[in-house]
Symmetry: D2
Amino acid sequence: MPNAEKPGNLDNFDQSIADVMIKAHEKPDGLPGYFGVRVEEFAPGRLVMAMDVRKDLVTIMGTLHGGVMAGFVDHTLGCVLYPLMKRGQWAATTEFKLNYLRAIKTGTLRAESTVLAMGRRSAVIRVDVTNEDRLVCVAQGTLLISDPPKG
Amino acid sequence: MPNAEKPGNLDNFDQSIADVMIKAHEKPDGLPGYFGVRVEEFAPGRLVMAMDVRKDLVTIMGTLHGGVMAGFVDHTLGCVLYPLMKRGQWAATTEFKLNYLRAIKTGTLRAESTVLAMGRRSAVIRVDVTNEDRLVCVAQGTLLISDPPKG
Amino acid sequence: MPNAEKPGNLDNFDQSIADVMIKAHEKPDGLPGYFGVRVEEFAPGRLVMAMDVRKDLVTIMGTLHGGVMAGFVDHTLGCVLYPLMKRGQWAATTEFKLNYLRAIKTGTLRAESTVLAMGRRSAVIRVDVTNEDRLVCVAQGTLLISDPPKG
Amino acid sequence: MPNAEKPGNLDNFDQSIADVMIKAHEKPDGLPGYFGVRVEEFAPGRLVMAMDVRKDLVTIMGTLHGGVMAGFVDHTLGCVLYPLMKRGQWAATTEFKLNYLRAIKTGTLRAESTVLAMGRRSAVIRVDVTNEDRLVCVAQGTLLISDPPKG
C-alpha cells in the first residue's frame, strides 16, 4: 500500500466474518472450488489467497490460461471487504482492470487484495498476484456496497 | 463497432484457422471446457462465443460468479485475432478491463469480441456480453502480437 | 451501442438541462476552456463533444499529448448523464479506462459518450473518439450518482 | 511496489536522460505547462511529479476537474521509462485505467509512477497520486516500446 493514510474503516474489521470466509474456503464450491482457492491470510483491509497452477488450467501453449488468472483476481477482489462492512451490508464487484505481467507455467499463485479506499457506498481495491516471488499480474477494481433492505 | 473506418487487416481473415478454432471448441479442454464455451460465429474481426449459466457457476447469493464472466471475457478476447495474423505469429492478452452491468441468474451468455484496431505489434479488442438480449458486461483490452522466432 | 435493450432511464431525458450544458460550453471555463471543447450533439444517453488539435497541445514528438485525450475523455464521460438524473442529483466519474489506438497530429477530435447502463446509484458509459473518421481512442467508465441531501 | 523481484532493467537507468527531463520540466510547454507540472524525484523505475490545484482547474462544484487528474496521470505514467530505454528507443502510453478515490479542493498533487514490469517491447506502470498525504487516485497502464528505425 502506498505511503498514505490508511482507510479509517479498517478499524471495523470483524474477525468472526473473516473466520466464516476462511472456513468456507476449506472446501469451496463453484469456480473457487474448481480452481482450488484457499485463504492464506485475512487481516483488516488485506486478504491473501492462493491456488496451484494445475496442468488442466494450462493451455496448449504451455502457459496458464489468462481466464484463470482473471477469475482468481475477481474472487480475491470481491472477498476482501466482507469483514469491514456492517451486518446486513453486501458488496459486489462492479468493475476491474488487470495487466498480465508474465506467462506462468507452474507453481503457486498468491493474490493479495488491499483496500485502498472505502466509503459508505463503494471501495477501491488493488490486487497483486505473485508466482514464486515474481509479480505476474496487477489489478484494481471497485466494489459497490449495498445496505440491507429497510424493514 | 463505432462509425469509423474498419481496421484494414480484416481482409487477411483466414477461414481455415477460424475453422480449426471452431472445431477445437466442440470439445474444449481446461477452462473453456469447464465453462462449456462454444463458438457461435467467427467472422473477420468478430467472434461470438456462448456458454450456459449452470447452477454450479452461481454463488450462494444466487448470481453468476463474476470470475466466470471475467474468465469467459478473457477467452473470447484472446481468440478473435488468430485468423487475422500471419502464419507463425501468435497473440497474448496483455491487459483488459471490464464493467459488470447486471447480476445474472440463468440463461445463456453471449460474448461478442470486435477488433477495434490492429497494428503490426498490438490490437485493441472490445467485448460485449449479453444475457437474454440484455447487455450484462462490457470490456476492452489489448493483445500483443509476436512474430515467430527467426530461424 | 450493442444490439441489446437500451437503458430505460433514457426516457427521462430533460432537454432543458441539456440546453444549459450546451450553453455553458459556448464559452467554457477551466480545462474544457483550455481545450476549447464544444457540444456537437446532446441526445438521450448520447453526447458528442468536439475539440481541435492545436499546435500547443502537441508534444515535441509531433503528436497530441495523451493527457489531452485523457482529459477530453473524462470531460465527455462525466457530462452525458446530467439530463437523465432527477433534479438535485449529481454524478461523479469514479473510474475509467482508455486505449489509445492511433497517434494524432492535426484536425478535430470527436468524442461520443453513450450510456450503456444506468441504475439508481451508478451508470456505465462508453466513449469512442474519432479523428477525421478514424477511431483513435476508446474508453469505458463508471459514474456514481448521488441523491440530494435530505432536508 | 509489491514484495516481489524488481524488474532487472532498472540497472540501466541513465541519469543524464533523467536530467534532461527534469530540466525540460523547469519551464514545460503544452499541457504540463498549463498544469504547472514539476519533477520532484527521478530514480530508477520511479518518478515523482507534482502540481498545484489552482482555482481555474476546479469546477463549479468546487472540486478539481477529473480531466486534470487524468491528464496529470497520463503525463507521469508516460515519462518514467525514458531513462531505462536504450538510446533511440521511445515509449508511448497505449492504455491506462484510473480510479478516483476522493474529491480534491486545494493543495498539491503528487503522482508517483513505478515501473512494475519491463520487457523488450512493453512495460507496465503503476501511478499513485496523493494530495496532502491522502491517496486520491490510483492508476495502472502500459507503455509500448519502439526500436529506432534500422538504418
